[in-house]
């Protein structure tokens, strides 16, 4: 039995039935990581010893007939933006190099409680800022379908490790598309749940009002399995939702007859790659064949989504990242000769300010600095109303657009991103072009609703094309059911990149 060829649902079943031990399963994936990650750079830290110890303990408990959690023995890779007790948590930033949090993120604690095996921490854009994974301080992740291309971002490591079968499932976070876009570019399935469905406690904050943790896997059914374990109210996160967690895995069976799927006219505007368009059109046809109907809808303010997002997210980030000042933890610049005097110190007001400036200057990469400056500027006296306050107003309009659209349709479908995976370095010189990779995904976060992306075809060059479904608040059961139905009717999600096989 080759664990890497099994789905998460099959792995969990096999381990529970004793057909496969947790140790064998974990070893198989660790071995793939050891063999493949040198060329992919999807992991920032692999906890081989810890993972094997956890797996051995699960096997022992199983032998003793003790109860096991719903994810018993399932290897999980966790984005390095989630705090893991005593394991490095760096957010792919020099600022947090070597930082080990004293606590687990709520999601990590829930994974452990479900007896999942955490195999390592995945690479990402620094502090989740980026759409290509090229902003990692520890080198870019390569797309398993074409090592010269980006896996997308910011959860690029999580997407690549699942695409390359280095882990059956991974945890990502999505602030403007950071789960869905890399899932689309790497040919896997990624779910961004409704804001507040999964606790943010222990997720290193980028933009607090937009951040949401979600599962990334090879199929919707596997995402359902993981979401069931990590969703739920957390009294430690005031913004987490109190609504009961449905049994997502048990809600996949119902057919899609009568389902109304919206197609956003604006999604077909200039810039949409013809091969992506073809994949998306074919996906709509699959849904129609499954009994759904497709209707044109408008999200009139969605075109302001990227502009709105690039005000709100940097504003919150400028404040969220203020804590990385070198005073308490993380990178602190070494000041030569301690306190300076005379002309040397003239550049800074005090040794304290010098320590702040040098630590932050050395610790943060260029994109993080750019967003901190954007946000600081937009929140400053005299600019607040014109930028931040106006962005909040547009955000309300976008949210209203979604509410209106969901009066007419049950889900909204369309492309995840305008193009398939782009070449490493292709957009790094043009921040604005890079910001447009979020074009189809940011509005979901601004509206606080959920979205799922999954493969719906391949380009002639062999790159995956992603399809996105967005749903109303707490419509995760429907999103997962629709994606799962699609995957029962197609086999795009079962394809594997040849290059690394």
């Amino acid at each position: 039995m080759q664990p890497a060829e099994l789905s998460a649902v099959e792995l969990v079943t096999a381990i529970r039935q004793g057909d496969l031990s947790a140790t064998q399963c974990t070893e198989a994936f660790l071995d793939r990581i050891a063999r493949l990650d040198g060329s992919l750079n999807a992991f920032l830290h692999v906890d081989r010893a810890g993972a094997l110890a956890t797996a051995a303990a699960i096997d022992a408990r199983r032998r003793d007939g003790k109860p096991l959690g719903p994810l018993a023995g399932l290897p999980v890779a966790v984005k390095d933006a989630l705090c893991t007790r005593d394991l490095p948590t760096t957010c792919a930033s020099r600022m947090l190099a070597g930082f080990r949090p004293p606590y687990d993120a709520d999601t990590v604690a829930r994974l452990r409680a479900a007896d999942a095996v955490i195999v390592g921490k995945t690479n990402m854009d620094e502090f989740a800022m980026g759409g290509s994974n090229e902003n990692s301080a520890f080198g870019p992740v390569k797309n398993p379908w074409d090592l010269a291309r980006a896996p997308g971002g910011s959860s690029g490591g999580s997407a690549a490790c699942v695409a390359a079968d280095m882990a059956p499932v991974a945890i990502g976070s999505d602030t403007g598309g950071s789960i869905r876009q890399p899932a689309g570019l790497c040919g896997i399935t990624g779910l961004k749940p409704t804001y507040g469905r999964v606790s943010r406690r222990g997720l290193v904050a980028f933009a607090s009002s937009l951040d949401q943790i979600g599962p990334m896997a090879r199929s919707a059914a596997d995402c359902a399995l993981v979401l069931e374990a990590i969703a739920g109210h957390d009294p430690g996160d005031s913004t987490s939702l109190a609504a009961e967690v449905p049994r997502y895995t048990e809600l996949l069976e119902q057919p899609l007859t009568g389902l109304r799927i919206g197609r956003v006219r604006d999604h077909y505007a200039e810039g949409l790659d013809p091969e992506v368009r073809k994949g998306v059109d074919e996906a709509f046809a699959v849904f129609e064949a499954a009994g759904a109907t497709v209707h044109d809808v408008d999200l009139p303010h969605a075109k302001y989504g990227v502009a709105t997002y690039y005000l709100i997210a940097p504003c919150e980030a400028s404040s969220n990242l203020a804590r990385y000042d070198g005073a308490h933890y993380g990178h602190r610049a070494k000041l030569e000769g301690g306190r300076r005097s005379g002309s040397e110190s003239r550049e800074f007001d005090s040794p304290l300010v010098e320590m702040y400036c040098r630590s932050r200057g050395e610790g943060f990469g260029p994109e993080v600095k750019r967003r901190i400056m954007l946000g600081t500027y937009a929140l400053s006296a005299g600019y607040y109303d014109a930028y931040y306050a106006k962005a909040l107003k547009v955000r309300r309009l976008i949210r209203q657009d979604y509410l209106d659209a969901f009066q007419k349709v049950d889900l909204i479908g369309g492309p995840v991103s305008a193009t398939p995976a782009f070449k490493l370095g292709e957009k790094t010189g043009d921040p604005l072009a890079m910001y447009l990779v979020d074009l189809y995904t940011v509005a979901t976060n601004l509206a606080g609703v959920g979205g799922i992306s999954f493969p719906c075809g391949f380009t002639r060059g062999g790159l995956p094309v992603g399809f996105q479904l967005q749903g109303p608040a707490l419509a995760e059961p429907l999103l997962l059911r629709a994606a799962d139905r699609f995957q029962r009717l197609t086999d795009w999600h079962t394809r594997r990149p040849k290059q690394i096989a």
């Binding site: 606590y103 943010r200 607090s208 919150e316 404040s319 000042d325 301690g338 929140l379 400053s380």
Partner: protein, 493 residues
Amino acid sequence: MTTPTAEPYTVVIGLEVHVQLQTRTKLFCGCPTRFGAPPNTQVCPTCLGLPGSLPVMNREAFHLAVRAALALNCRIAPFTKWDRKNYFYPDLPKGYQISQFDLPFSSDGWLEVTDPKGAFSRKVGIIRVHLEEDAGKSMHDEAAGTADTRIDLNRAGTPLCEIVTQPDLRSPQEARAWLNELKLLLVYLGVSDCNMQEGSLRVDANVNLHIPQPDGRVAKTPIVEIKNMNSFRSVERALIYEAARQYGEWQTTGAELGRTPKQTRGWDDPAGVTRAQRHKEESSDYRYFPEPDLVPVTVDEAQLTAARGMMGEPPAVLRTTLADRWKISAYDADVLVNQGRELVAYYEDLAARVGEGKVASNWLQQDVLRTLNERGETIDAFPIRPDALADLIGRVQRGDFDTSRGREIFAEVLAGGRSVAEVVAALGIAAVGEDDLLALCRELIAENPKIVADVKGGKEQAAAGLIGQAKKKNPNVNPGQVRQTCLELIRGM
């Protein structure tokens, strides 16, 4: 009514008071707020500002804050939210303070202070009361020569109420009296211990002068904010100093409000002067914006009713109630109420047992309060409880012995941990019976023919000479009874 002053100007004062709320745990995490713990032992990921940590509002803190605002006659907002105040400082681990900016939970209140001697009465408007978290403490180790700074984050995240007044105060004395009244109110409410030494209450003052000009115009000096005052006495002294300094500066420079930015000055208590602080410390842009990690708070009528139920009688009301109920003067009621809720409770217990409010008040003020002051104790720890003191006062009222004898017994009870009855018995103090008294008086009359003659001659006051002698023969006799009995015997002769 203003205090008449000789100065050719009016002092205009507004205060900003930070009060630490008496909660067991911090505003946004479960860490204890106990004062004096070893540095950095009452901390967690949230108050350390570790990556990924989130705040959760402490409901108890919000309840206490609402109670305080209601007692300050504020309007409570039905909807209030949190904001981030962004600035860099090592004792602020997140790089922002969670506070309230444009929608404070309460506003538009007032608190009146009346000088018991009638020197002034001032109703001071309150602009707003809001909740925020405290920062940690920086300890600058200049002595070590390295200029190292050590940070203690035990205090970081402690709940604070910020109370901002209108510029309604008109003298340093009024400011001090108003602060005393505010402190008394908050302590009565159980909202804060207002201990300034431990930093539970901090005051900044904004002050300037209004100087009437010969042409009828009023010249206004630039507003100065004074910081670093660590007692109400310091506040008064700093304001007196600052008023004089501003007048002097105005006479020299003629600088008026609006032409210079607001200045911040620190109070140097040992030197007795205010000193200008660095300009950059005043000109920050805090980039306030709504705190996305917390949800807005709504307050409904039921919550307000519950909060009102927890308020009890505020000091201002209690003064009137006490004066009416126990027939004591407004001055006496003021003295008692200013001692705090516990002493008032003691007083009311005592007065009920004694049956005479004035007598109970006299004993409390003259004997109990003096002892407490001498010992530096509070009424809670006072060993003579109201029942015992009422027992003692009752014996005096019944005439078992006089007040001065009663004071001796009071001192004995206080010293020895014995009951009133035990002390009375040990000292051989027993009520002198009718027959013994008669016998004693007859003896005195027989021994003092001159006094008897004087009394008979119409000089009743001569009888006083007998009382001293009576006390020597039996220290327990009641001087009034001795005098009365002797006079009756002499008249009957």
